[in-house]
């Protein structure tokens, strides 16, 4: 995840092929999103239901991670 932090602009993750993720995996995403810095976001595309649930339960207070509605 570190290269994303160093890069510029928003980070888009295409997750349609991801079947499952656990609490640790979701937390790594959320922590990375927290460290992106001023004005940058992490945008998740087609996350599995379990990831939405994990972010909802454990990482509600991370405004820099969002799920694409498209």
């Amino acid at each position: 995840m570190c290269p994303f932090i160093a890069a510029r602009g928003d980070v888009h993750l295409e997750l349609a092929q991801l079947r499952f993720v656990d609490a640790h995996g979701a937390s790594i995403l959320a922590r990375t999103a927290q460290q992106l810095g001023e004005g940058r976001r992490m945008v998740l595309h087609h996350p599995p239901r379990v990831l939405n649930r994990l972010l909802d339960l454990l990482w509600q207070d991370v405004p820099t991670i969002e799920v694409s509605k498209a």
Binding site: F20, D22, A23, H24, S27, R31, V50, R53, L57, L58
Partner: protein
């Protein structure tokens, strides 16, 4: 006897023994009112009907109090410390003192739930040491078994009833109380389906759980939650023990029970009760398990640990 918070440990954990609605109100309303008068944040987490009793007694002040139905929020006793109490304390981290009325034990609690309830009460004393908070736990001594009242005396340093407030002579070290209720779990009432798993088998573990939960007729969202919860426990098993782990699943009384047995000890009493620091990516698996399950039972002994997750349909 006058009992106050010590300089070194400002945390207060008190049991309130009540016999009827009058005693309930006389024991709780002044506690809430004193908190409001002092500007303390106040949480009342008690079974629904008792929420109504306190709300009615507070008249106009009820709007300043946070209420929760403990029969829902605390149906799983393991959920109360992290998701009810600690969440409220953290939300009001700047407050001089936080006041909570928490009623985790009521007459309808089952024998399966009860040991986890007592362990929860004991662990409160460890979890909130040093926090500027007062937690008052009402016990309906009219309807609860005398043994339950005796257990409350061992888990609360301070006892309150209509005659006053005193130190509990029967108070026990939390570790000892937890150990006293660390008992072998009863055999499943029906034959269980079994899967032995190792480090590469987590997808099979999840598939096994989903299949059985679906067969049992569980609602889809709860199936997702149960899959997530069992995966966390099985992950801990493959990450922290030499394995193998054994998963057993069965259905009893409208509930699916998933049991993970492994050869590792379980020695962190507060695992799954207190969140790790925000910067740490690990340590949230059991918090999550406690959030979504209706009951979590644990038995640990020198040659291994058994964790049972109960999820109603």
């Amino acid at each position: 006897m006058n009992v106050v918070a010590s300089v070194t440990n400002p945390f207060l954990h008190e049991a309130l023994f009540y016999r009827d609605t009058d005693e309930y109100q006389n024991g709780t309303l002044p506690f809430v009112q004193a908190g409001l008068d002092a500007g303390d944040p106040v949480l009342v987490a008690v079974p629904g009907p008792n929420v109504d009793v306190i709300r009615a007694g507070l008249n106009g002040s009820a709007g300043k109090v946070r209420f929760a139905d403990m029969a829902q929020a605390g149906r799983n006793p393991g959920r109360i410390i992290p998701w009810v109490l600690n969440a409220f304390l953290d939300e009001h981290a700047g407050a001089e003192r936080v006041r909570v009325i928490g009623e985790p034990i009521w007459a309808e609690r089952s024998a399966t739930e009860y040991p986890a309830c007592v362990q929860h009460e004991a662990l409160i004393n460890l979890a909130f040491t040093g926090r500027a908070a007062t937690i008052l736990c009402p016990y309906d001594v009219q309807r609860l078994d005398p043994d339950v009242v005796a257990d409350a005396e061992s888990t609360h340093p301070i006892l309150v009833d209509k005659t006053g407030r005193q130190a509990s002579a029967a108070y026990g070290e939390p570790e000892n109380v937890v150990a006293a209720f660390n008992r072998p779990l009863p055999s499943p009432p029906v034959p269980a389906d079994t899967l032995v798993f190792g480090a590469g088998d987590l997808p099979r573990v999840r598939q096994f759980v989903v299949q059985h939960a679906n067969w049992a007729g569980m609602s889809p969202q709860r199936v997702d939650d149960l899959e997530m919860a069992v995966n966390e426990v099985a992950t801990n098993s493959v990450a922290h023990t030499p394995g193998p782990g054994t998963l057993r699943v069965w259905k009893e009384a409208g509930t699916v029970v998933c049991e993970v047995r492994d050869p590792g000890p379980f020695d962190n009493l507060l695992a799954g009760r207190i969140p790790p620091p925000p910067g740490s990516p690990g340590g949230r698996g059991l918090l999550l398990v406690n959030h979504v399950c209706d009951l979590v039972r644990l038995y640990t002994h020198e040659s291994g640990t058994v964790i049972r997750l109960h999820m109603s349909l």
